[in-house]
Symmetry: C2
Subunit: 350 residues, 2 copies
DNA sequence: CTGAAAGCGCTTACAG
DNA sequence: CTGAAAGCGCTTACAG
């Protein structure tokens, strides 16, 4: 019928000019209607906004940010996608940011080398903010962002240098609560299954846990290095239980996915009963933790509050980008007792 | 020391003008150096590119796309994040797109209502392409994109109307292979555990499986409606096994995460042995499928090839956006035999 | 409170 | 092959 047109050009997008002409106003006035702070008659704004909705006009964000220097884009960097905690955080974060009109540009990386190029590409888009959602990522990524003038929030992780913002669970406190929980329920021989040695979450949980055990009068809990936050690392770590001087009765694994692997390893490779022979506690409370086959005792991450803190930080940074970097530590939830732990009675004092 | 400056403005980004001045060339020439198709002396281009790298200039993508009408942004819509298949696809897809210089803008949704607003926001950015990574999403989302002139690719899913592009595993064939596999290994009483009733993946797998069973001379396998692609749906579906006229000896679950739940349910709630009493097969081959505690027999999704097809489609669409929508069906991998199935011998012909 | 004008950082016909 | 100029779709001082 009609002549063949390029797909893209078939429906030229409406511009301010179109809307201005349609309303018999100037382009300036129309533009002002879309900015809350702009001075414009209340009625005029209503008129413009109404008509815009009718004809389907919406300002071109590219043209806009060319002038405002703000993009409403937040770059999110993820790795560790094997840990189910992150997909969940990612989607919830994306939704929360959407609610304040921010869009997520995603960067995914496996290896640390890969991240660099990806990050550079991302920074071209001048995101208003970068959020790092990966326990394992080198902090150089953050420096890269800072050089580009993009503030960085580390989520569920502390930055090595103190130059970035952070929102994290108080993992030291989390580790301490788990020590208390295990000791209160009669465990006397604790151990810690460590994940990535230099991940701040791992370090803090390990530190809090062992410190508290000693405070409560136990021997310093030995550490088994699993090396990763993963099922397979946990599964294999179970084998190393044999190398310990004494079989522990209560084990804290650096996070849930590690704990699930450890749990399976203990049962299948060591033939031990959980919780009969040994209690296992994780950290995160991922969905899998309450699957009937696991019933993992764990500590809930305060995701909702961590998300809130992140969003409010994002807003602040939008308003005033030259803030002093601060780290917000949010207390973890209580220990959720499920089927991988049980009370033990050795002697009267238990 | 120095006067306080706004963070953002502290390092004004270099522009073409800066680079042009630095090189004593015109802005036009410098600009041309960054476009492969532009006519420019070979030496000039090298000079420009080299200097750009040195001083750290990179073209502003916003200004660029204001003119080119191409954004190098692909909007990715995800839901079903409980299915571990999707996070994996998402990260791999993001990396693959990055390799062709495309950036992912993410839209996450739970409910179908939520998606609409999110999509609108996304479409403001005029993505060159939208990819829908969700089994459950209503096709209206696709229409929305089309209205905005953005081509849509459905990944691992067919669109209801034939107006979108699609890259999917040949799920009918997958269902058929599983029927063959079970029958060949001696199973005679099959059943299908269905997930979302109107997800194309579910429908195709179910259709292929049952059709093939009949072709091979078995009774039409009964269907248990689990309703969702999730662990919990699978777990609960196990209970419904009792309602069947006859206990099946071989069960195909719509996907892996459903199968894992079903497996646990069968073992824990029904007290049946897997594979002794009943064989279970999944679909996807997610990482969890080869965890020792599951050892799920399943069919591998040809993710690598699906990704390749998607990327090549993305390139084609970039070059010529008015193509006829086509759906690419990629044959699934072979059945991977693990610990949830075993050979059965009823009589001589098995 | 509104409008005309300049300009954000690019690309791309148009001349030369 | 290169440069001067117009223009992409906006926002924002500057007048009025």
């Amino acid at each position: 019928m009609s002549t063949i047109t390029r797909n893209k050009s078939s429906k030229p997008r409406l511009t301010v000019k179109d809307l201005a002409r349609d309303l018999g106003m100037s382009v300036s006035t129309v533009s002002r209607a879309f900015h809350a702070e702009a001075v414009i008659a209340h009625d005029t704004r209503d008129l413009v906004l109404k008509r815009a909705r009718e004809i389907g006009y919406t300002p071109n964000p590219f043209a806009r940010s060319l002038i405002t220097k703000r993009t409403r884009i937040v770059g999110v960097v993820v790795a560790d996608i094997t840990n189910p905690f992150y997909p969940e955080v990612l989607t919830r974060l994306t939704r929360a940011l959407r609610d304040i009109d921010m869009n997520v540009m995603l960067v995914a990386a496996d290896r640390s080398g890969e991240i660099d190029e990806a990050l550079r590409l991302l920074l071209n888009y001048q995101p208003d903010l970068a959020i790092i959602l990966a326990a394992t990522l080198p902090s150089e990524a953050a420096q890269e962002c800072r050089k580009a003038g993009t503030p960085v929030i580390f989520f569920n992780r502390l930055s090595a240098d103190g130059h970035a913002f952070g929102v994290s669970c108080d993992n030291v406190l989390g580790g301490r609560s788990i020590a208390d929980f295990l000791i209160d329920s009669g465990h006397r021989h604790l151990a810690y299954i460590a994940a990535l040695p230099d991940a701040s979450t791992n370090v803090a949980r390990q530190g809090g846990f062992r410190e508290r055990a000693v405070e409560r009068g136990l021997a310093t809990p030995p550490v088994i290095e699993a090396g990763q936050f993963s099922y397979h690392a946990g599964y294999q770590a179970a084998q190393k239980l044999r190398d310990l001087d004494r079989m522990p009765d209560g084990v804290f694994c650096a996070n849930d996915i590690l704990a699930v692997g450890f749990l399976d390893g203990v049962r299948r490779e060591l033939g031990l009963g959980v919780p009969e022979d040994i209690s296992i506690v994780g950290f995160d409370d991922i969905e899998m933790a309450h699957w009937p086959s696991h019933g993992l005792t764990t500590v809930q991450q305060p995701i909702e509050q961590m998300l809130e803190a992140t969003i409010s930080l994002a807003k602040d940074l939008a308003a005033n980008s030259s803030q002093e970097p601060i780290v917000q530590l949010i207390p973890p939830g209580a220990v959720i007792e499920r089927a991988t732990t049980r009370r033990r009675l050795y002697d009267q004092d238990a």
